[in-house]
Assembly symmetry: C2
Homo-oligomer: 299 residues x 2
């Protein structure tokens, strides 16, 4: 069996999960969410996004979030920093790890960050340089790896090119995002195989969305290939902006349940995680999109 | 790749999907559901259950359903017949295929059909004999193959024993049911491997529930083993009686979406199937539990 013995879960609910919420969520709730996730045993939490509040008003309190954190030993609290300005602000808040966000689709890149893929990589170069000087690691995201809302299917070679560029530029890990959740297991495998030609598999992460209910099957397929880092969001927080009312991020509880059943270690307490999912969805008035969360709460 | 080139989908919504609905659904709605499923290209539909209306009031109109069917060429309309009385009634209605329902858990068998597993097999013997005489094929269900609400985990050998008994008794196919949806992919594989020691893989079907969100990952895992018959329910109809409010059957739309992405033929039109899911959930006032159905409707 090629399955990893253990995985690292990257919890993205405080950032990816909340960023599109239209009603402001107070900083105290975000901080409690982050603290509860840490208490459940999660060792990597994406806590904030240093983007302009003009574009993502929900993340406007990024400084307060980063400053207000009760840091737990062994837990990394990271932030998204799309440009140098965002990185400088994050560094002022004592961030120990950041992330940049690229795309495998030209059209998505233009519509999402208003520049070509090549231009986005040029923008990231000084961010990576500055982060290196500051001793801060940088994680790279690639979106649309299994489909684009504008272009449809994306060739695996295109995903491999962008991933390789980010890795060679200094990203210690590249997270492969099925942004619109249209991927299926064999396509996920083929995409990963293309990317893994240039980048060691232990430097890659799977960031899959569950819009079409495929996320766990896709994760199982890439676990077979040796993927050992998985991005997910408690309660499946984070809808799909390209299909209103549909699911977004795969739910952390569902991922951990599957891993537990497969005997793959994560160090995460599923009961505490599921309680956190119930709590945050009640706190912000959203449906709990974790089937495990709903089933555990119903019992 | 050991994946099958094509699969046969067994649509269970009219029976398994509706049987626990507390409010009576009129026969015309059931007949329209069955007809729409056939129009979407489904070739096997479990249409009714010949159980006592005392136990399953929703299926009390089984005669009217079987008699009212507009039969499409190439489509099999089957019915559940737990005993000889049910079979005789089904035969009177011209049923061409029936199913019996056993369990891999002693406690579940006692609580669900009020007898031991061995006694249930004794009860099925005359049903299989009579069906054979009438030239009617019998499908065998085994429930609790990946867990029991009372006993917890069920040893794969126990599942293999019951499955083998049903197969040797004359069931042409044995459908392996993860009744409470607690299974995970590697356990599903191990269970199937145990059963497939005695029964050819092409005589086995996977009947997985999505209560813990694992159904598609489990299906992917058993497709890797060569399973080529999948039971599912449009819109994920059929909740979980052991966790109120939680999901039940895996949604047919989500299964077909995955198979389409994997290049596995089913002969089913996903658009028509998803429309049927939207229609029936609105007609009976239930949430659409197919993520594909919700995402397609939201676009």
């Amino acid at each position: 069996m090629p399955f990893p013995n253990a995985i690292r879960l990257v919890e993205v609910a405080p950032r990816d999960g909340l960023q599109n919420e239209p009603e402001p969520i107070d900083t105290a709730t975000k901080l409690e969410l982050i603290d509860r996730l840490g208490a459940a045993g999660i060792r990597y939490i994406e806590a904030a996004s240093f983007v302009s509040p003009k574009w993502v008003p929900q993340m406007a309190d990024h400084r307060d979030v980063m400053a207000g954190l009760t840091r737990r030993e062994g837990v990394t609290y990271s932030a998204l920093t799309p440009n140098l300005k965002g990185l400088e602000a994050a560094l002022e808040c004592g961030v120990e790890e950041v992330a940049v966000f690229g795309a495998a689709s030209e059209t998505f890149s233009h519509k999402n960050i208003n520049c070509s893929i090549a231009e986005s990589l040029e923008r990231f170069a000084p961010v990576l340089e500055r982060a290196k000087d500051a001793g801060v690691r940088v994680r790279g995201y690639v979106s649309c790896v299994l489909g684009c809302p504008y272009e449809g299917e994306i060739p695996p070679a295109k995903v491999a090119d962008v991933s390789k560029a980010l890795y060679e530029m200094g990203c210690y890990e590249v997270s492969l995002g099925d942004t619109i959740g249209t991927g299926t297991p064999l396509k996920a495998k083929r995409m990963l195989e293309a990317v893994a030609k240039d980048i060691p598999i232990d430097k890659l992460a799977a960031h899959f969305h569950d819009t079409y209910g495929q996320a766990l099957a896709n994760l199982y397929a890439v676990l077979e290939e040796g993927i050992a880092v998985i991005d997910s969001s408690v309660a499946g927080l984070g809808g799909c902006p390209y299909a209103k009312g549909a699911s977004g991020n795969v739910a952390s509880e569902d991922v951990i349940y599957m891993l537990n059943g497969m005997g793959i270690e994560s160090g995460i307490d599923l009961d505490k995680l599921a309680e956190t999912g119930q709590w945050i969805t009640l706190a912000i008035g959203r449906p709990n999109r974790s089937k495990v969360g709903v089933a555990m709460a119903a019992k």
